[in-house]
């Protein structure tokens, strides 16, 4: 029960983020929903690392922390993604005076 409730919470957060990322028009709202999805995945990784035994545990017991390593990488990639995403949003805002993802459709021809 203890592991499952963390996994269920992670799945609920991922689902909420999925809904926001697919249904919002505002580009910054899409980015925020993506952050919620990242957080759900991070929670899942840390909970799995805390309660389950990885296969590599037989070689060295430090591999119990593999989920923590994944979470560090996910947080780094999320930071890079937000920096680039917001830069792109600001660039689009400057050239076309809009931040709606439905208005940026040059590639949609």
């Amino acid at each position: 029960m203890t592991l499952e409730r963390f996994l269920i919470l992670g799945a609920i957060l991922f689902g909420i983020g999925l809904y926001g990322a697919l249904s919002k028009k505002h580009a910054i709202a899409v980015l925020m929903s993506l952050e919620i999805m990242f957080n759900g995945v991070n929670l899942t990784a840390v909970a799995l690392s805390r309660y389950t035994v990885p296969q590599a545990f037989e070689t060295a017991s430090k591999f119990l922390l593999t989920g923590h390593v994944f979470t560090v990488f996910i947080i780094t990639v999320a930071a890079a993604e937000v920096a680039l995403g917001l830069a792109i949003i600001i660039a689009i805002y400057r050239t076309r005076q809009s931040v709606l993802v439905t208005d940026a459709k040059e590639l949609n021809r």
């Binding site: 203890t2 592991l3 499952e4 963390f6 996994l7 269920i8 919470l9 799945a11 609920i12 957060l13 991922f14 689902g15 909420i16 983020g17 999925l18 809904y19 926001g20 697919l22 249904s23 919002k24 028009k25 505002h26 910054i28 709202a29 980015l31 925020m32 929903s33 952050e35 919620i36 957080n39 991070n42 929670l43 840390v46 805390r50 309660y51 035994v53 430090k62 119990l64 922390l65 923590h68 390593v69 979470t71 560090v72 990488f73 947080i75 780094t76 999320a78 930071a79 890079a80 937000v82 920096a83 680039l84 917001l86 830069a87 600001i90 660039a91 805002y93 005076q97 709606l100 439905t102």
Partner: protein
């Protein structure tokens, strides 16, 4: 703190933190004022940091506070304020009902796979390891978590670690190049 037993206070903390996290996550996608939903996003990040502490990942909770609460939310709020003169609120697509159905179906499927579809007992630390190994695991999680994490990052995952640092540098340079005034 032990690996298997949980006191009432920890249970209560879990329910309070998860309730706050889910409610504020729903608020992020539902509130019409974008600035307010950014503030609720900060509450979500704080709740996740508290859950990391409950899971024995204090270092990750600190990283979460510094990167998400300290850096990412400030970036997002600045971007919202810079683009706010449009006053467009936070509109949704016309197909948001089917998207909501897809998300709910995804959640139900995941919950089914987690509770019924997987046999966790063959993988759990508390079921598969003997007493001596459990003591060692507890030491790794609660006493030596940061040295072991550093060891993993700089030996077994060193390629991914270097790649991620190159990615961060590329993202920083790319962001500067994109927003530069020409």
């Amino acid at each position: 703190m032990s690996l298997t037993t949980e006191s009432f206070a920890i249970q209560l903390a879990f329910w309070v933190l998860s309730f706050c996290t889910v409610i504020s996550a729903i608020a992020v996608v539902q509130i019409q004022d974008l600035f307010r939903s950014a503030l609720f996003l900060i509450v979500t990040f704080l709740g996740i940091a508290g859950l990391f502490v409950l899971l024995g990942a204090e270092f990750l909770a600190g990283v979460q506070l510094m990167v998400y609460v300290g850096a990412i939310s400030v970036l997002i709020i600045f971007a919202i304020l810079m683009t706010r003169d449009l006053e467009e609120g936070n509109p949704s697509h016309s197909f948001r009902i089917p998207v909501a159905i897809v998300a709910i179906l995804f959640m139900l499927f995941s919950i089914y796979a987690i509770t019924v579809g997987t046999n966790w007992d063959s993988r759990l630390i508390s079921e598969t390891l003997n007493q001596e190994q459990q003591t060692e695991a507890g030491k790794i999680f609660f006493a030596d978590s940061i040295p072991n994490l550093a060891n993993l990052l700089l030996t077994d995952f060193v390629l991914a670690f270097e790649l991620v640092s190159v990615l961060l540098l590329a993202a920083a340079v790319g962001a500067l190049a994109l927003v530069r005034n020409r």
